[in-house]
């Protein structure tokens, strides 16, 4: 072979090999075809999910958020894109919420729960009351004593406003899964099109939840495993001792959730998908500044909301893909996964 020919061969072969490698990496993971699984009814599926205990596992959870939320200052906690989850199959779990260049770790082991924030090096210890778990379990057992009747009750309630069906199968994190789909009935006035829950065919563990809105094909919100391994986990994962130099605070769990001083008092009106949370806050909270140097709440609303007027008075509407919020100038508000009109009606009834 003459040198020129050889040079071209090498260049083409090398470039092709590298490009194929890059292409393989660019292929979306888990885009495999739907696996073949024995058919199952919605009730059987829900029942088996309620019956199943989560096995020991470790996995990666990705959170894809396309809600169209405005970027607000002081909401860094929402800026989580993925999390690593570990569970020992019993009571202990560890969740590491990955933020860009930082991490929040939550470790829960029987009676103690720790949270550690690497960004400001603070740790919080919460000692759960010894009987809390048992009580919780006992209370839960009353309701869920019989998973099949619990599933039936739950489905009956959900079916008042939605269509529930097992809609084919999917591959999530390389696992075969059933897709349980909740679709609002046509009479429901909501922004949401459907909620899909992928349930692992073998372990009956929910692997992925997607919320789809009207008029889009990509989920507005999707939380799901990108990879998952079932099997025993090392015990030291579920132990946590705060690092030297970290600021440690002890927090006692409140037996009764205390009424926060400016907790917005409100109630849910409506039922099913178009239920709306209506309430009011003192109007002066709108003038409070979340950050000392940031704009006040009214300024934020000016920035992200749209000024509206109607029978309810005047106020701001903040709309996202999955929900709408309406805040009036005198502090009344309504929030729901509904179009704006439903909110104004809900405010009008008050």
């Amino acid at each position: 072979m003459n040198p020129k020919k050889r040079a071209v061969t090498v260049a083409v072969a090398g470039t092709a090999a590298g490009a194929i490698g890059l292409g393989i990496m660019a292929m979306p993971a888990g885009a495999g075809e739907a696996p073949e699984l024995p058919s199952v009814s919605a009730q059987e599926l829900v029942e088996s999910v309620l019956k199943a205990d989560p096995p020991a596992l470790s996995g990666n959870v990705a959170i894809d958020n396309d809600l169209g939320l405005p970027a607000m200052p002081g909401m860094a906690m929402l800026n989580v894109e993925s999390a690593r989850v570990y569970h020992d199959g019993d009571h202990a779990s560890r969740i590491a919420l990955e933020q860009n260049g930082s991490e929040v770790t939550l470790v829960q082991n029987g009676g103690t729960a720790w949270s550690y924030d690497a960004a400001d090096n603070t740790a919080t210890k919460t000692t759960l009351p010894e009987n809390a778990e048992r009580k919780h379990k006992a209370a839960g057992q009353d309701e869920l004593a019989d998973p099949s009747s619990a599933a039936a009750t739950m489905l009956d309630y959900v079916r008042q406003s939605s269509t529930v069906a097992v809609d084919g199968t999917a591959t999530v994190a390389d696992r075969a899964a059933y897709e349980l789909v909740l679709t609002p009935k046509p009479t429901e006035r909501t922004l949401l099109r459907e909620v899909r829950i992928a349930v692992d065919a073998e372990n009956r563990l929910p692997l992925r939840m997607s919320v789809l809105t009207n008029g889009t094909t990509e989920p507005a919100l999707q939380i799901g495993f990108t990879d998952i391994d079932f099997g025993p986990q090392p015990a030291d994962l579920f132990e946590f001792s705060p690092p030297q130099g970290a600021e440690v605070t002890d927090s006692q769990p409140r037996n009764k959730p205390e009424q926060l001083p400016d907790k917005p008092a409100g109630e849910v009106t409506g039922e099913g998908w178009d239920s709306v949370y209506v309430g009011s806050v003192p109007p002066e909270t709108l003038d409070r500044r979340p950050d000392s140097d940031g704009p006040d709440a009214r300024g934020l609303l000016d920035q992200f909301g749209t000024r509206v007027q109607g029978e309810f008075g005047s106020g701001y509407v903040v709309s996202t893909k999955v929900g709408t919020a309406l805040i009036t100038d005198d502090g009344r508000f309504a929030v729901g996964a509904v179009p704006q009109q439903v909110l104004t009606e809900a405010l009008g009834t008050r």
């Binding site: 260049g101 930082s102 030297q244």
Partner: protein
């Protein structure tokens, strides 16, 4: 610099015997490390962790994280932590300074020598073109590795001097023993070096096609900047997996415990793909170059 090249490069011609690969590489390395600019660059890179460490300790926090990429938000954690400092400064320098030094080395290796007429010596010598490329690549790779190691070493030393050897805390809140912490820094340094080899290989490929070192430097730096701008555009999401810097944020994963390996492995594979492409193009050009 010119002195060194003129005396060393034609040596194989004079001998007219088959020089061993080891001797060629040694000669190349001597040529690289005798250049004053190599030493100046290494010295400046070594100073960065020291400056960052002192600034974080005595001036206060790095301010609110975010906005400045992974390095910047890691820096918020780096104050008071001897483990994070070297990795955070590597993450920061990987965005521009380290690619710049890799590009400099790659541009000198072929285009620089062509500009001085000293590449002729190599081309006429009884050294196969493949071997010549191998020698040049090893030279660039060694320089990139030494740049990373120098930064990591001064980062570790600065961290130890400022914060002592305890308090080696990961982002997950676990405290590491000294060997485990050094292992993590070594993993980070090795991974950064691999990314730089990919950039160095691209620089070599461009270097083989031109005789102006400035062209190499400008195109590699321009490429790095364009790549980071493209990463910011959500509309081009389909393109991102093809960009070398797509997994550079994964460097922070080294500091998590247990360490997630997915992003790091993907970044390493991506760098390997870039190396294969770039070196094959460099070989194609070099093997047809007239003496």
């Amino acid at each position: 610099m010119t002195d060194a090249t003129t005396t060393l490069a034609p040596a194989p011609v004079a001998r007219r015997s088959h020089a061993t690969l080891g001797r060629l590489v040694r000669a190349e390395l001597r040529w690289i490390y005798r250049r004053p600019r190599t030493l100046v660059v290494l010295g400046l890179l070594a100073a960065i962790p020291v400056i960052v460490g002192i600034a974080l300790t005595f001036v206060g926090s790095a301010g609110p994280g975010g906005g400045g990429g992974d390095g910047a938000s890691l820096l918020a954690t780096a104050a008071g932590n001897a483990l994070v400092l070297p990795i955070a400064t590597l993450a920061m320098a990987l965005n521009l300074l380290l690619p710049l030094s890799a590009a400099m080395s790659g541009s000198d290796a072929l285009a620089g020598e062509t500009a001085h007429g000293t590449l002729r010596g190599w081309l006429l010598a009884p050294v196969s073109r493949g071997r010549l490329l191998l020698v040049k690549s090893l030279g660039v790779a060694t320089f990139a590795l030494s740049a990373v190691l120098v930064m990591a070493a001064t980062g570790v030393l600065t961290g130890f001097v400022l914060n002592g050897t305890d308090g080696l805390v990961t982002l997950s809140g676990s405290t590491l023993s000294l060997p485990a912490a050094l292992l993590k820094v070594a993993i980070a340094a090795g991974w950064v070096a691999l990314q730089l080899w990919a950039i160095g290989a691209v620089a070599l490929a461009i270097s083989a096609w031109t005789e102006h070192p400035m062209v190499v430097l400008a195109s590699v730096l321009g490429g790095v900047i364009v790549f980071s701008v493209l990463q910011l555009l959500d509309a081009l999401e389909w393109l991102h997996p093809f960009l070398l810097n797509d997994s550079w944020l994964a460097l922070g994963d080294v500091l998590r415990d247990p360490m997630p390996t997915g992003g790091l492995a993907e970044g390493a594979l991506r760098a390997a793909c870039y190396i294969v492409i770039a070196l094959s193009i460099a070989y194609a050009k070099l093997s047809t170059k007239d003496g």
